[in-house]
């Protein structure tokens, strides 16, 4: 929540900056100075976009980018095994991707996604083999012609 507030504040400051630059630019007459001012405005706009993106990430995961004090320095959280059982299973087969204690919904989503990918893959292979819908539409049988 604190990170979100500071990001909102930063966006506000950047918007104020843009307004000030626009007011200053209206007074300017030198073309070079106007171009420089336009660059500054563009830079602030980019930063606002970045901050908005960051805000969107924070809304989804409030702990995104949060650093934890480890061994005397602030470092991000890194993924770890949660249980001994999980570690043993992973060491046996590092490529196993179903986690036993994973949320059931997540498991379902993973299976659905794999099914979608599999069907896309099969379709692509069919097309590559020349047996897919695109190839059959364009193919003309020499015997009939």
């Amino acid at each position: 929540m604190r990170a979100q507030q500071s990001t909102l504040l930063r966006i506000q400051f950047l918007e104020n900056d843009i307004q000030n630059y626009k007011a200053d630019m209206a007074k300017l007459e030198d073309a070079n100075e106007i171009v420089l001012m336009q660059d500054k405005i563009r830079d602030r706009e980019t930063r606002i976009d970045e901050n908005k993106q960051w805000l969107r990430a924070l809304e989804t995961d409030p702990e995104w980018g949060k650093l934890v004090e480890t061994d005397g320095s602030y470092l991000p959280k890194m993924p770890t095994f949660r249980t001994e059982k999980e570690m043993e299973r992973a060491l046996e087969n590092p490529e196993s991707w179903y986690e036993e204690d994973e949320n059931e919904d997540v498991q379902h989503q993973m299976a659905t996604r794999e099914m979608v990918h599999r069907s896309h893959n099969e379709l692509a292979l069919q097309r590559m083999d020349g047996e897919g819908p695109i190839a059959t539409d364009t193919d003309v049988d020499a015997g009939e012609a």
């Binding site: 969107r56 991000p76 993924p79 770890t80 992973a90 590092p94 991707w97 794999e114 599999r118």
Partner: protein, 208 residues
Amino acid sequence: MITSTKFSKNKVLRANEYSPPYHALRDLGLVGAQLEGMDFSGYSLRGVNFSNANLRRVNFTEADLTGANFTRADLSLSVLQRANCTDTTFDGADLTQSYGRGALFYRASMTYCMLRRVTYKNAFFLDCNLEGADFAQGFFVGSKFNGCRKRYMKNADPSKPGGPVYTWYLRPGGGPPRYEPAPQYIPYNVSVTGSLSVQENAARKKLT
């Protein structure tokens, strides 16, 4: 001890050509050796000293590197896929752009090791010393870091530009992954496209 030796591929014993197959290169000293592009896949290289050696593009797939020493060795573009790196030393080694899918780093010393732009999917770092290691733009989806020392680590924050990727954020209906959280995207710490022949899974072992 062999130092600064230029090996040809024919001179190195292949594990499957001789019996007993393993330990042919056990406890060997290859300090500063020129071994660029060698194939050590499936070898047992226990306790071999590769300090300061040139190991660019070397293939260590499924090799046993227990107790091996890679201090300040150049391992850029090398393949450590499913390699066993128990008690291995990588202090100051350059692992830039290396590929270590499913590799096991157990009690490995990796202080000030360069892991820039690496692909270490499903690699496990257990009780390792990662002090000062550089993780810039590394790809660590499915990797786990249990009991590691992480002091002075560089570019380990996934939220910063140039940081590593620990989690994929995927949309259930399909589409490319995102590296930062977004609404309706589900975080995945594991590889979900395992049985498919997409590029990232080309080297994956077939699931049973």
